[in-house]
Subunit: 403 residues, 2 copies
Amino acid sequence: MLRVLKFGGTSVGTLQRIQNVANIIKKYKDNEDSIVAVVSAMSGETNKLIEYANFFSSNPEALELDMLLSSGERVTSALLSIALNEQGYKTTSMSGREAGMITDNNHTSARIQNIDTSNIVKALDDSKIIIVAGFQGVSIDTHRVTTLGRGGSDLSAVALAGALKADICEIYTDVDGIYTTDPRIEPKAKKLSQISYDEMLELASSGAKVLQNRSVEMAKKLNVNLVSRSSFTPEVEGTLITKEENIMEKAIVSGIALDRDQIRVGMYGVIDKPGIASSIFTTLADANINVDMIVQTVGLDGKTNLDFTIPTNDLDKTKSVMEQFQEDSYKIDYNESICKVSIVGVGMKSHTGVASKAFSTLAQNNINIRIISTSEIKISMIIEEKYAELAVRSLHDAYELDK
Amino acid sequence: MLRVLKFGGTSVGTLQRIQNVANIIKKYKDNEDSIVAVVSAMSGETNKLIEYANFFSSNPEALELDMLLSSGERVTSALLSIALNEQGYKTTSMSGREAGMITDNNHTSARIQNIDTSNIVKALDDSKIIIVAGFQGVSIDTHRVTTLGRGGSDLSAVALAGALKADICEIYTDVDGIYTTDPRIEPKAKKLSQISYDEMLELASSGAKVLQNRSVEMAKKLNVNLVSRSSFTPEVEGTLITKEENIMEKAIVSGIALDRDQIRVGMYGVIDKPGIASSIFTTLADANINVDMIVQTVGLDGKTNLDFTIPTNDLDKTKSVMEQFQEDSYKIDYNESICKVSIVGVGMKSHTGVASKAFSTLAQNNINIRIISTSEIKISMIIEEKYAELAVRSLHDAYELDK
């Protein structure tokens, strides 16, 4: 069985934890599995290096940042290799370049173009445990080191698993899987044993941040079976993220997600001339502002009200974009005290009444819903932030997710 | 003018000091010079990484150590590049691989085989300042990262200067040049403006540790003009190390060196059969013990006494080698309380009386000389360690080196 294992920054955050990771790998190897491990930088290292760079420049050249930041993963890969080697295992570290991770030239957020697996295949044939420095590659044109941006090590692992046709790709963090909701909010939250790619994508974009969407999307595309689990409790099985067809019992609702990093933008009294909404949202998109939910209503006076949400981080950028649409007759306001609660489940496709149960549950708790949006497998609702925990708990209860 | 500049660990030991190095480079660049800078890891980094490795193994695999240790210089090269870039200079960092530093496969003490200067030449043609990660290369067969061992960054710089036919190779440390003797012992010591390769080699092997012999030897072989100077006082000119023909005024004596890291081994009453000395020294050489001075005397009884010196670090190894030559009739003793004082100068070749002045100076101070060895440009004497400073000061005075 070929396993790709990925260990995040906290999992390799100290020397003792790296030793712990070596023990996890050993167990698999002793069981005759073939292992490709992908590692992040020790937690804190990447931020330290970014601080160093910012000492010299508020806007360091992307190409040099990649040279700088890629060093952290190299260190971890060498240390883990030394740890396993000391215990008699044949190992080899590999930089992104050596692992054949070929990317475009987009420094600091490069995209994987191709993986030349020849080095890895050769090392696997030699029964070596391979420790790949995650997060990095080499640019196809200039042959310089590149990095893959946020969540890059997960991407390295998923892409390698796909290219090698690995049986499984296990993503180790400090969380032991995907839960029906955030256990800090609802202690009765249960760990899911399985979940589909699409549900995971909806949960992640709704605020359950264990896995980055880029990695899940790639896993879906490459048909890689992902497991989310913890290096601190390796005896606990994690959550398998796989294609819907592989999931035996499809839950109607798999989880409730909460996203507090949303701001609602309201625009009132817009004269309803064709193209105004399109013009606003095109301009926002051009400014790389990720507009999430949109509601447009036309009043009896023929004027339009627009409500939409943006990530909290994009507030300043949004305000400066919106200035060009400011006219005397309009009123624009920004509400930061809101949050988004989402209900996710593939079973919704074939079951009715899921949405109405959500609305009635919130109504029973006197929680007003400001915006609603639905997809095939998700219902999202914007509510006042002060009701966030109450909404999550009451919905978790209503769909009996603790059962 | 093409300058290769090398900045050691203390010169880039903090972010502020890296900024300081950027300022040194800027001045040259503003003067239309072409610049290739070679940098070490920030001081302390390499030792930290070695400690990390030793957490897992007392004898980490050399190949993985190279992956680990080579990261420090990459960090410095990226940071220095960012610092210069921020001020409007076109720069590029280069790993050892990118700089074309091709070595043998001898991990952790690789030797440079060849330098492919094509990347550097292209970047110089683009008027870029090039910042090379020192100490590292890539192995000719396996294409894995290698490191060059102690003093490796100096070697990188000298080898690049040779390959590029640079006009000068400046080695920046925290010392502003080569002195007639250690100023901590003799405050009247003077900085030399010039010194020949051979004198520098003799001074270094006699304990003046500013430059490693490997680098000076390579500079001599490649005919590279070396300058030893300080990044902390860049306005002070350093010492030029060059070939003897380039030196205008040849001093009879250039400097007095002191080496405390020596142990005298005495072997008495050795039966004088042919080959016994050769057999002892061959065995020591096979054990990689660097025997320095040797004196053999045959007494009236036909028995031989051997006196020789070894580096302090090799004491245990030497003792275990010598055990096989231990016979009842021999007596072996080890004296750690000795030191080696050396007088170095190319002028000795053409001047007589240099040695006799040394002997009489020490005699006037009641300092016994235990072993003497001479070469064309050096006189070394083993004396009791307690007289070390007195010997250095009185010799410095006798040859009027403060004038």
